[in-house]
Amino acid sequence: MNKPLKTTLNDFKLIFRTASLRVFLFLPLAILLVINWFLPYLIGRYPVVIDYVIFVLMVSTTETAVMFMFIYAMVLIDEKETGVAKVYGILPLKQITFILQRFTLPFLIATSFTFLVLMVQPFFDFSAGPALALSALAGLHSPLYGLAVTISSKNKMVGLVYMKIYNLFIIIPLVSFFLSKAIQPFFGIIPSYWIFVGMENMHLGEPILWPMVIGFIYSLFLIFILARIFVKRHFV
C-alpha cells in the first residue's frame, strides 16, 4: 500500500480509537447544522441578527478548519509524548515528506468542509471559484495552527491550552470590522484576517484577488517557518 495512504489510514485508526478525538470529527457537521437550521431560526425570531450573519460565517469557516487542526495536533503531540516521533526521525523518509503526508489530508478535509459550508449556507449566493479560493485559504489554517500547537506543546494538556489561545487569536481580526478603516490593516498580521477580508469582499461583490494573494503568501510563509521549527524539534 502506498505510504501516504497507509499513514492516513493509520491516523484515522488512531482518531477513531480515541474517544476524545472522535467527537471532533463531527463538529464541522454541527457547524453546518447551526448555519443551515439554527441561524435561520434565530433570524426569524430576532431579525437584527441578519446584520451579523457574515461575521458568523467568517468564524464558521475558520472554526471548521481549526477542528481538523485540533485533531491532528493532538495526534502529533501524542506521538511526541509517547516517543513515536523519534521513530519517524530514523525512517527512510524525508522530514518534509512527513509534514506533507501528515498535513495534506487535514488541509483537504478542512478546505472541503469550508467550501461545503460556504456553498450550502442559505444567506448569500457565493460563486464557486472565489468560495473555493477562500476555502483553501481557510484550509491552510489547519496545517498552520496544527504546526503551531504541536511545536508549542510538550503534552496534550499544554496542547489544549494552546489550542484555546490560538482559537481566540484566530477570531481577533473580527474586531477590525467594528473599528476605523485606518486601523484594519494592522490586523493583517493575524493570518485569518485575510480570510475575513476576502469573505467581506465576496459578500459586498468586490474582488477578492488581493486579500487571497496576500493571505496565501503570508500563510504559506508562516507554514514554511513553522515547518522548519517542527523538523528541528519533533523528531529529537
Binding site: N10, T82, V84, K86, V87, L91, P92
Partner: protein, 288 residues
C-alpha cells in the same frame, strides 16, 4: 564500519560541550558497548550516529562514507532500539510494525508473525500495545529495530527496567544478531550486560572517552592475579596465580580439608570502571 574522529558536540544554548573529542572505531560484526553514567554523553553519541542530531564537529564515517553525505538510504541500513518503548498504544503490535515497515523496501522485511513467534509474542500479535507489559513493549521495540534487516543496529539501554528473565532473552537475541554478522552499538550503564555481550567497551564520562578495550582484558588488567581458596572448615587463603600448580603452600593448603570453592580475583567491569574513571555508574544502592 564506524569511524569517529574528534567528535565534539554542544547542544544549542548549552555552555558546556556534551561530547569532547571522541575518537573510536567499530569493526563490522562487532558488539561495541558505550558505557557511562547518566548524562555522560552516551545517548547523544548515538543520536549523532543515527543522524538525529546535526551540527557536530569532527569526522564521522559509516561504511567508509561521511555521515553527512549519507541520504535517506542510511536509514535503510540502520536499526534503532530506543531506550523507552515507543509505539502507537492504540494500534496493535502488528499494525505498528506494518505501519513502520511500509517505509522500507518490501524485500528486506522479515515476516511479522515469525518474528512475534521468535520473540514469544505470538499471542499479542493482534492486541493493542496499550495492553502489553513493559517486557512485551521492549521486545516489540526490538522487533521494529531489526525487522528491515539492518546491518548496523543501535540499542540504547536494551535491558533497562527488565526483569532478569526478559533481560536474558534480549541479550541472547543481541548475540544471535552478532552471529548473523550484524554490527551492534550498545549504550548502557549496566555493566553486567556489557560484560556478557560486548566484544569491546568504551568508558565515557562527562563527554570524554577514558578507555576502549575488551572487557576480559580490562578485568584481567585491573584485577589481582590471585586465587582465593576456601575450605569446608571455613579457612580461607589467597595465592598468586603464577606457577600455582607448583606452589607448595597452595598444595598443602588444599590437603588440610575438603575444598569449598576457588575464585580468581579478577575485577568486575564495574570495579574497573570506577578505577579508570573515578566515577560510579549509579548512586550507591542503584539497580546496576
Amino acid at each position: 564500519m564506524i569511524h569517529v574522529q574528534n567528535l565534539t558536540y554542544a547542544y544549542p544554548g548549552a555552555k558546556e560541550k556534551t561530547l569532547k573529542n571522541l575518537t573510536f572505531k567499530m569493526e563490522k560484526g562487532e558488539i561495541f558497548g558505550f558505557l557511562g553514567p547518566s548524562g555522560a554523553g552516551k545517548t547523544t553519541t548515538q543520536k549523532i550516529l543515527y543522524k538525529i542530531l546535526k551540527g557536530f564537529e569532527g569526522e564521522v564515517k559509516v561504511g567508509g562514507k561521511a555521515l553527512e553525505k549519507w541520504g535517506k538510504a542510511y536509514f535503510e541500513t540502520i536499526g534503532v532500539g530506543f531506550e523507552l518503548p515507543n509505539h502507537y498504544l492504540k494500534l496493535t503490535g502488528k499494525e505498528n510494525l506494518e505501519l513502520f515497515g511500509n517505509f522500507y523496501p518490501k524485500e528486506k522485511l522479515k515476516n511479522i508473525s515469525e518474528l512475534f513467534e521468535q520473540f514469544e509474542l505470538k499471542d499479542a500479535l493482534n492486541k493493542r500495545v496499550e495492553d502489553y507489559s513493559k517486557g512485551m513493549k521492549v521486545r516489540l521495540n526490538f522487533i521494529r529495530a531489526i525487522r528491515h534487516n539492518p546491518d548496523l543496529i543501535f540499542f540504547d539501554e536494551p535491558t533497562a527496567g527488565l526483569d532478569p528473565v526478559n533481560a536474558h532473552k534480549i541479550k541472547q537475541h543481541i548475540l544471535k544478531l552478532k552471529e548473523e554478522g550484524k554490527t551492534i552499538f550498545i549504550t548502557t550503564h549496566n555493566m553486567s550486560t556489557a560484560d556478557e555481550i560486548c566484544d569491546r567497551v568504551a568508558f565515557i564520562v562527562n563527554g570524554e572517552l577514558r578507555v576502549i578495550e575488551k572487557p576480559s582484558i580490562l578485568k584481567h588488567k585491573h584485577g589481582q592475579k590471585r586465587v582465593k581458596v576456601e575450605l569446608k572448615n571455613g579457612k580461607m587463603e589467597a595465592f598468586e596465580l603464577e606457577k600455582l600448580g607448583k606452589n607448595a603452600d597452595f598444595l598443602n593448603f588444599l590437603k588440610k580439608d575438603e575444598l569449598e570453592r576457588i575464585n580468581t580475583q579478577e575485577a568486575t567491569l564495574e570495579e574497573v570502571f570506577i578505577k579508570v574513571t573515578g566515577e560510579r555508574l549509579a548512586p550507591e544502592g542503584g539497580l546496576n
